[in-house]
């Protein structure tokens, strides 16, 4: 059976290209159906006024986008995200790196400590949020921390009431507890890839402690650090569960500490309404913002890297 030269070129040596496509096809199909098509549909829907329907009805062009971008509450929510990211990304990075260094150096029960710190990752965000809200940081006199404050003779604090900024303490500690273990594992993996003779060579040269960390360990962790910061940023942006479950009360969400996803959820799906055009427009805006942040971070890192060469 003769194949044309073009067909043979496309199919590759021993039909290599064809088999490549066949093996990748199931995953690619899944990606197409469950990710690419919904995103495209959402982008298309965002240009329409789609209420209580997933099929576009009335074309409104960029009205949904304009409505959101000029909305004071949406702008505040973007600010809330930035503040949250500023709190959580450096803190998680430092703490998980420190924990990874400590756990790696442990001589006794290293596996136990690794598992113990990683265990909170398996905990549901919703459950953790409820425990934080109803047990630890309950604003009533008998909340756990308030009880200790009362023992010390201080006034009970209304953590989640909003008259102060203490709700950030609640949210940041919640998020830290839940995710530090995961990033610690990433750093442990990164640390294990540093060849041991690098440290031996440094010891021979007389380096120890902080200098070893600064000049040997940390530079070797560059790839891991980049990945961790990018993941932290994206996850901070997608924060929903801890905010929603900590601050929602019966029929109401306060106007502070409202990240973009919570805000979009409430106006698109609140009180039985289904404003899908608006929700889709919001998702598109958020995607663009994440993409900008991600690219900026990669650009910044490669800029630093280029200087070092």
């Amino acid at each position: 059976m003769a194949r044309s030269p073009l067909a043979r070129r496309i199919r590759g040596l021993h039909d290599r290209n064809l088999w490549q496509l066949i093996f990748v096809a199931p995953f690619f199909l899944g990606l197409l159906i469950f990710t690419v098509v919904p995103i495209g549909w959402s982008a298309w829907l965002s240009l329409f006024d789609a209420r209580n329907t997933v099929t576009p009805t009335e074309f409104v062009g960029l009205d949904n986008y304009v409505y959101l971008l000029t909305d004071r509450a949406f702008q505040t929510s973007l600010g809330t995200f930035i503040v949250f990211a500023l709190f959580i990304v450096p803190t998680t990075f430092v703490i998980s790196l420190s924990l990874a260094l400590l756990v790696n150096r442990a001589t006794v029960a290293r596996a136990f400590f690794r598992s113990a710190f990683f265990l909170p990752t398996a905990c549901s965000y919703v459950i953790a949020a409820m425990v934080w809200r109803l047990v630890f940081f309950n604003g009533a006199r008998f909340g756990l921390i308030n009880s200790y404050l009362r023992e010390l003779g201080l006034e009970p604090v209304n953590w989640l009431g909003g008259g102060n900024y203490l709700y950030w303490v609640v949210l940041v500690t919640l998020r830290l507890w839940l995710q530090v273990g995961f990033y610690m594992i990433l750093f442990v993996a990164g640390l294990n890839r540093i060849p041991a003779d690098t440290y031996e060579a440094a010891a021979i040269d007389g380096a120890q402690g902080w200098r070893v960390f600064r000049h040997i360990t940390f530079p070797q962790l560059r790839a891991t650090s980049i990945a961790v910061v990018l993941l932290l940023l994206i996850n901070a942006f997608q924060a929903f569960d801890e905010f929603y479950n900590t601050l929602i009360s019966v029929g109401n969400y306060p106007p502070f500490a409202k990240p973009p996803l919570v805000y979009l959820y409430l106006i698109s799906f609140g009180s039985g309404s289904q404003d899908l055009g608006l929700g889709s427009a919001g998702s598109m805006i958020l995607t663009v913002v994440i993409a900008i942040f991600g690219l900026a971070q990669l650009g910044l890192v490669s800029l630093i890297g280029r200087d070092r060469r």
Binding site: N52, G163, V250, I267
Partner: protein
């Protein structure tokens, strides 16, 4: 005999596919709307309820459905976020034929043609229902949901605390502020309305209590951007900063525990806690409407009623309408039982209210009277975006000492734009 690899793989794949294709069709849920009416079979209807907190409701509604002679009605009991469940299902063809919805269908549902106009189902019986309750489920004169039973919110207060402090129950906001300060003790606070400081649950109460309406009469904007509205917000800020205002308690405003445990002398809560409060405190409590605010102030309460709606795109629209008429207009015994046998609710038909023994006297009777004389429900144009803007405005006035006029004007701008989007 050695089966070649390819043949084996192909055969096992075919067997697996055949096996798997057998599953998946039995979802365990009733098939809605399939009308097997050929040859005189009764039509099949599906009816959805949300999960009521009280025991025994599920058995009761299934009993009502089974008692309907002209169709086979399958009841689906839905725990979890019922609103989202119904809204999503109405987008598909697996939607229920009859479903209940809080406050009647939303304006979006009405405009998208998902809820059927039920004015003819009511017919002459329209006058038998409490008008304010019926209006809450109507739009432009047409009724879209038949109220099943009415729930409401009011202020609970401890009589003993008031007697000890020598204060009379408050009817205006100034009296409420004075009372809050007076009845508080070392262990018991004065006034409690939720862990968010009452902002979420009381923002609309302030609007009505100051004699204003949520939406203006020409339906283009809000109805409270005037001096009375600004004053109402300022007065609430004053209340929030009074000594005795409880910022956080063992439960939210909707739970009986703060009031029953003696954490607060007054609590804004709902009729549903009445059984628990009566059990725990006996006679030592009374109920009040929200006090009036300002010169044009009026006492008010808020009510809501889950109403029976018919899916306009159902395959058995006429059968569904007949069923709704039979159950929620004609069967007064069932309506009375539904309202009173499980917790305490108020029947939607005015004539049934005196027949409910829990509402015959005491706080129950007061509650029914409040709804009839001074009850308000959320306007259909009160969108989530407007509601959030009001919450933000009130929070700023209370916590950041912002000027009520500036805040409410910002809400007015937002509302104008949002209503235009919704109503055109």
């Amino acid at each position: 005999m050695a089966i070649p690899r390819r043949g084996f793989l192909g055969l096992s794949g075919a067997i697996a596919a055949a096996g798997l294709s057998a599953c998946g069709s039995n979802t365990g849920r009733p098939e809605p709307g399939s009308s097997g009416t050929a040859g005189g079979d009764k039509p099949q209807l599906s009816q959805w309820y949300h999960e009521y907190g009280e025991e025994g409701v599920e058995e009761a509604v299934k009993k009502y459905a089974a008692g309907y002679p002209d169709a086979t009605v399958t009841v689906q009991w839905n725990p979890g976020d019922y609103d989202k469940l119904v809204s999503s299902s109405l987008l598909t063809d697996k939607a229920p034929d009859v479903f209940e919805y809080g406050g009647g269908p939303t304006l979006d549902m009405i405009k998208a043609g998902q809820a059927l106009d039920l004015t003819d189902v009511l017919g002459d019986a329209r006058d038998q229902f409490t008008q304010s309750v019926l209006d809450a489920a109507s739009w432009e004169g047409k009724v879209y949901g038949i109220p099943q039973t009415v729930d409401m919110q009011m202020l609970f207060y401890r009589k003993s605390a008031f007697d000890k402090a020598g204060v009379t129950p408050p009817t205006t906001i100034e009296e409420l502020i004075t009372a809050t300060r007076a009845v508080r003790t070392k262990d018991m606070g004065g006034f409690y309305a939720g862990t968010d400081g009452g902002i979420g649950v009381l923002n609309s109460m302030l609007i009505w209590a100051s004699g204003q309406e949520q939406i203006s009469s020409d339906k283009t904007g809000i109805g409270f951007d005037n001096a009375d509205g600004y004053n109402a917000f300022a007065k609430f800020a004053e209340l929030s900063h009074t000594e005795g205002f409880v910022p956080s308690a063992s439960g939210d405003w909707s739970a009986a525990s703060p009031f029953v445990n003696g954490e607060t002398a007054m609590q804004w809560s709902g009729l549903w806690i009445l059984p628990e409060v009566t059990d725990a405190l006996g006679d030592d409590f009374g109920v009040l409407p929200f006090p009036g605010v300002g010169a044009s102030g009026r006492q008010s309460v808020i009510f809501g009623a889950f109403s029976a709606c018919v899916n306009a795109k159902s395959k058995n629209v006429d059968a569904a309408k007949d069923f709704v008429r039979w159950l929620w207009v004609d069967q007064e015994d069932y309506q009375l039982e539904f309202s009173t046998a499980f917790g305490t609710h108020i029947p939607a038909k005015t004539a049934l209210v005196p027949k409910a023994d829990k509402l015959a006297d005491g706080p129950g009777a007061d509650a029914a009277r409040f709804v009839a004389e001074m009850g308000h429900a959320n306007d259909k144009l009160w969108t989530p975006a407007i509601s959030q803007a009001v919450v933000a405005a009130l929070t700023n006035v209370v916590q950041k000492k912002a000027d009520p006029k500036t805040e409410i004007n910002a809400v007015a701008e937002k509302a104008k734009a949002d209503i235009k989007r919704l109503n055109g």
